[in-house]
């Protein structure tokens, strides 16, 4: 007699847990970061697209102006870290739900982790090392607001 297996693995083996319960903290993180992100994202959109001259104001100088202010450095760093980890954790959840093959799952999870890490590192590097008028650059490559050296 044959039975048709539903898409499921054999009877669950429950191993005793050890160390930090990542599943619980992941769940809490998603909710906490979600609340903060609502404020950060809508604040970001309002300042960039609505306030002042609106969307027309956005250019290189606008971004340089924002990052001259420590307030926006902190804001954007928080936005970057919280949003990327929030998104990465959400993707991890989806992969755990849908990728049943162990190899596929490992590859996809690694890809998500790697891309999240790379984006966080590059983004943070840009925010903290950003200099609109780097010294020793040819004058014709510099934006117009830089003091002529």
């Amino acid at each position: 007699m044959t039975t048709i297996d539903a898409p499921r693995t054999p009877a669950p083996v429950r191993r005793p847990r050890r160390g930090v319960n990542w599943e619980k903290w992941g769940w809490i993180y998603m909710r906490a970061s979600g609340v903060v992100l609502v404020v950060l994202i809508f604040g970001h959109l309002f300042v960039n697209l609505v306030a002042g001259e609106g969307v027309k104001a956005i250019d290189f100088a606008f971004v340089a102006g924002k990052w001259a202010d420590p307030f926006w450095i902190v804001w954007d760093t928080l936005l970057l870290w919280l949003a990327l980890i929030h998104g990465g954790n959400g993707m991890r959840t989806l992969i755990n739900d849908y990728a049943t093959n162990k190899l596929v799952r490992t590859v996809l999870l690694s890809a998500v982790a790697a891309s999240t890490a790379v984006l966080i590192i590059l983004g943070t590097l840009v925010i903290f090392t950003f200099d609109p008028c780097p010294a020793a650059s040819p004058a014709d490559l510099l934006p117009s607001f830089c003091p002529v050296r």
Partner: protein, 248 residues
């Protein structure tokens, strides 16, 4: 005195078409859909239609049923894409202008026609210790008293009949079957919030697991599917909160 013999009024009937997903493990490699036409009355339920088919048309049709009155939880099945009890679904409440599709519940291994292997479901149920755990003698040595308010705290989750309609409607349970599933959490909830029980922490630890309550995505499929009207998703959320608080 002579009276005319009373002729019973004819009760109107209608024809319902049922399309049932059949699977005979000794013959079929894959399940197949089969049509049946049955004469039904307005008071008939899907279970009556299945009986009529089994008794009058095809005796090989296989399904589970026991009490036939919505208490034993044997005849949960997918009727027109929704998990329901066949014994609580009136045919006239379905759209009888179209065929009625009937298949086994999803996410559990199919054994024959509408019968699935319920063992994985009961394994999850058993692993949450679904029984009163109280050490020592009760106060006064006779009974463990409980106020109506304390009883009301977990009243909703006492209604579970273990039909698996909720668990087999849960998309997280469908993925790999490792998730405890709504029914197991509902039955843990029933004892976690029972003032007479002393081992809530043990159950909270069991459910505070990778495959425990944190996999719930609040899809509400379970709440929609429950034939007893249990607020399943809310019960799961209450267990989550109890884990975060560290106590019921």
């Amino acid at each position: 005195m002579e009276s005319k013999p009373s002729i019973p009024e004819e009760i109107p009937t209608f024809t319902a078409t049922l399309i049932i997903r059949r699977f005979d493990p000794e013959v079929d490699d894959e399940p197949r859909w089969q049509d049946f036409d049955v004469e039904m009355h307005g008071t008939d339920r899907v279970l009556d239609a299945l009986h009529k088919i089994k008794w009058e048309q095809d005796g090989s049709l296989t399904f589970r049923r026991s009490c036939a009155h919505g208490v034993c939880g044997s005849d949960a099945m997918r009727i027109n894409g929704r998990n329901r009890l066949a014994c609580k679904t009136l045919i006239k409440d379905l759209d009888i202008s179209k065929p009625i599709y009937i298949e086994a519940i999803k996410g559990l291994p199919l054994e024959k026609d509408l019968v699935v292997d319920m063992e994985p479901f009961f394994d999850s149920f058993k692993s949450v210790n679904p029984f009163l755990m109280a050490g020592g003698l009760p106060q006064g040595g006779k009974e463990r008293k409980q106020s109506p308010v304390e009883r009301a705290r977990f009243d909703d989750t006492t209604k579970c009949i273990l039909c698996a309609a909720c668990t087999s409607s849960c998309p997280v349970f469908w993925t790999d079957g490792q998730y405890f599933g709504p029914a197991a959490i509902v039955n843990a909830h029933r004892f976690i919030f029972d003032s007479r029980d002393e081992n809530a922490q043990v159950r909270l630890d069991i459910l505070n697991d990778k495959e425990g309550v944190w996999r719930c995505r609040t899809t509400f499929n379970c709440t929609d599917a429950c034939p007893r009207g249990i607020q399943v998703t809310q019960a799961i959320a209450e267990v989550k909160q109890a884990i975060l608080r560290g106590k019921p």
